[in-house]
């Protein structure tokens, strides 16, 4: 797959390079006509400049990217910008402008929206952030993604924008919503136990090959519900890496016969108030 990353690094930002100019420059070349995967990295001062100009440019130049199947907006490290400080915008127009897109990844949730949340061919939707807002979660659960196979959402913490309830999150996994879904990631959450308990016996698990509840505050409480679920035991893979489970629970997983990732155990003796999901800075 032909792939390209555009970003405005420190030196370029200092000398006044604009990401939109880089997109326009790329669109001006024949190369753009064959490009299948585009990664937009740091667009320069992402802590103060939002992604709306990028969305606008990509929508305006959509005819120059006829083969584009995969798009990542905001691929930057904490060295470039703290994830919770990345200013996004409404990414919805991208979905409308690129009906053949298969994969969309977004990093950062500040001022993020996804309206209209509709796409007939999208297979993968990933949002990496420190805290996902209720409005985005609701947009996805009320939207239409008929062909979605992988949904990976970092839910995060209240301090960084997670303002949904468990019920809001569970709307995402109501039966029939994503008929082709095989990978579900509801991860990096401060309510990872509640999510684990609710998902453990949910009908959607029957259609999944991977359940990803990693990077959150999962303890033995949530794990107990998972390990006792017959549905869970039929998964091809369960991802629980970065967790607060006890050694005893980890041993039970090792003996369960399930393909389960239980790496990166956190100190589970710590007080509940000091348990954090992984991506909270």
């Amino acid at each position: 797959m032909s792939e390209l990353k555009l970003s405005v690094d420190y030196d370029q930002y200092e000398s006044g390079v604009k990401i939109v100019e880089l997109i326009e420059e790329l669109a001006g070349k024949d190369e753009s006509l064959q490009l299948e995967s585009l990664i937009i990295g740091d667009w320069g001062g992402a802590y103060e400049n939002d992604s709306s100009e990028i969305v606008e440019a990509l929508v305006r130049l959509k005819d120059r990217f006829p083969q584009l199947r995969s798009l990542f907006i905001g691929d930057m490290s904490y060295e470039e910008c703290e994830v919770s400080w990345i200013n996004q915008s409404n990414i919805g127009p991208i979905l409308s402008a690129y009906p053949d897109l298969r994969s969309l990844t977004i990093k950062g949730s500040t001022d993020l929206s996804l309206v209209p949340a509709q796409h007939d061919k999208l297979e993968e939707l990933t949002i990496i952030c420190g805290g996902l807002g209720k409005d985005v979660i609701t947009s996805i659960s009320e939207g239409s993604f008929k062909n979605l196979k992988k949904l990976e959402l970092y839910l995060g913490v209240e301090d960084y924008g997670f303002d949904a309830t468990l019920a809001d999150v569970l709307q995402l996994i109501e039966p029939g919503k994503f008929p082709l879904l095989t990978y579900l990631g509801l991860k990096d959450s401060q309510i990872q136990d509640e999510i684990a308990i609710a998902v453990a016996n949910a009908p959607i698990v029957d259609q999944l090959h991977t359940l990803d509840l990693s990077m959150g505050t999962l303890t033995d409480t949530g794990a107990e519900a998972l390990i006792n679920s017959e549905k869970i035991m039929k998964l091809k893979k369960l991802d629980l890496n970065y967790h607060y489970m006890s050694d005893e629970m980890m041993n039970r997983w090792k003996q369960s016969g399930l393909n389960v990732d239980i790496s990166d155990q956190q100190d589970s003796d710590e007080d509940e108030d000091y348990r954090y999901p992984s991506l909270t800075e």
Binding site: S7, D9, G41, W85
Partner: protein, 408 residues
């Protein structure tokens, strides 16, 4: 010709590492002049030179090593930095290398300094300590010059004083045209938190490294940023603070990084660091290796780059062993060209200090363009474990170069 004197703390891993390297190479053990003995007047170059039983035209190799990790030495240096210090070995000329903070803030008297008790990790008085160390370096320089016509310093004391002060190092490297991150402002222009914030707003620079002027390693370093949209602040640092109702806060060095978000905490810590003297420069995003970022410690000996390690970390401060891994430059995927760029940058950096033959240069490659920037020059930056160059560890390599090279 092969005799050597180390000014250091005997028994620590630096001194024992160097002695072991000499033994492996068949060299006689170096004589160790302990910092504590020099500071307390119990030993000097002349007493050690007598032991060597040498003639004056055969000067030994002189190596100054790190004075750190020794509480009594730290206390004596703070005593030496006191405004009311009276030391027969020190004269007024020994203030010649004190370039900033000429009057130390909230100085402590000799009496108070002598009464300091050891508290693990406590940052006692960095600016007065550095003042004392500069005086000692000057004294040792004078004494060596009296004993030997041409003292064979591996690193000249004056260079060590310069390298140890991040403000002055930045000034020297900038003047020499080396790539360094831009300084926010002259140290005098940002004496406290409020002036720092003013300067940030004026220059529209929101991400900074604030470094204690004379700190070693990660000590006194703050990765500080302000979100211009929300006003939120973030400070990642090795500085811990304990607040008290009836006395000033206690600042100490922590092994695990702290992440402050409360404006009140951040203001207190930044004020403390700026008052003791700090270098403040732009935070340039470092290149990534997988999910982590890295910078490079490149050792240079006798003008030639040798041992190197990439310090790979999930945090902005890569010096700490905790949460960061040591990898080879190939391991983090640097091409031969980039490795050569780093070596060249480090060699040019050491050449700014012509009377020095050993330094660990910290170099970052910027995210995206992989352009090199010099972050720090460490005169005692050769304590690198599990690192070999042409089959030799750093100390062996230095000793080999010292016996073969005419420049050391």
């Amino acid at each position: 010709m092969n005799s050597m004197i180390i000014i250091g703390n005997s028994g620590n891993r630096r001194t024992t590492g160097l002695q072991a390297a000499r033994a492996r190479l068949g060299l006689p053990p170096a004589l160790v002049l302990d910092y504590i003995d020099v500071l307390q007047g119990n030993a000097s170059f002349s007493s050690v030179a007598q032991n060597l039983g040498q003639t004056l035209d055969e000067p030994p190799l002189l190596r100054l090593d790190a004075p750190g990790e020794h509480f009594e030495v730290e206390r004596e240096l703070i005593v030496l930095g006191s405004p009311d210090t009276a030391n027969t070995h020190i004269s007024e000329i020994d203030e010649r290398w004190i370039r900033y903070n000429k009057s130390v803030v909230q100085p402590i008297s000799v009496k108070m300094a002598k009464g300091l008790q050891e508290v693990k990790g406590k940052l006692y008085h960095p600016s007065q300590w550095f003042r004392g160390y500069c005086k000692l370096l000057s004294r040792l320089d004078r004494e060596a010059a009296q004993l030997w016509n041409k003292p064979r310093w591996m690193n000249a004391p004056e260079d060590i004083a310069a390298m140890f002060d991040k403000r002055y190092t930045h000034q020297l490297l900038s003047a020499a045209g080396l790539p360094v991150p831009r300084r926010l402002a002259a140290p005098e222009a940002i004496p406290d938190y409020d002036t720092l914030r003013d300067a940030m707003a004026k220059k529209r620079i929101y991400r900074l490294f604030i470094k204690l002027a004379a700190g070693s390693g990660a000590c006194g370093v703050i990765a500080y940023q302000v979100n211009p949209v929300t006003g939120a602040e973030s400070a990642v640092t090795t500085i811990g603070v304990e607040n008290y109702l009836r006395r000033p806060p206690l600042f100490y060095n922590v092994k695990k990084l702290m992440h402050y978000k409360e404006p009140q905490d951040i203001r207190r810590i930044i004020n403390w660091v700026l008052r003791h003297g700090a270098h403040v420069e732009q935070w340039i995003p470092k290149a990534s290796y997988q999910e982590r970022t890295f910078d490079i410690r490149q050792l240079v000996v006798a003008g030639k780059a040798c041992h190197s390690i990439a310090r790979v970390s999930r945090t902005p401060i890569t010096n700490l062993h905790l949460d960061s891994a040591r990898m080879s430059l190939e391991g983090v995927g640097l091409t031969d060209n980039l490795q050569a760029t780093v070596r060249q940058c480090a060699e040019q950096t050491l050449s700014v200090f012509p009377r020095s033959t050993v330094a660990g240069i910290d170099v970052l490659l910027s995210s995206g363009s992989y352009r090199p920037y010099v972050l720090d020059v460490n005169p005692f930056g050769d304590l690198l474990y599990h690192s070999h160059y042409e089959g030799h560890d750093p100390y062996e390599w230095e000793m080999r170069m010292a016996s073969h090279s005419t420049t050391i």
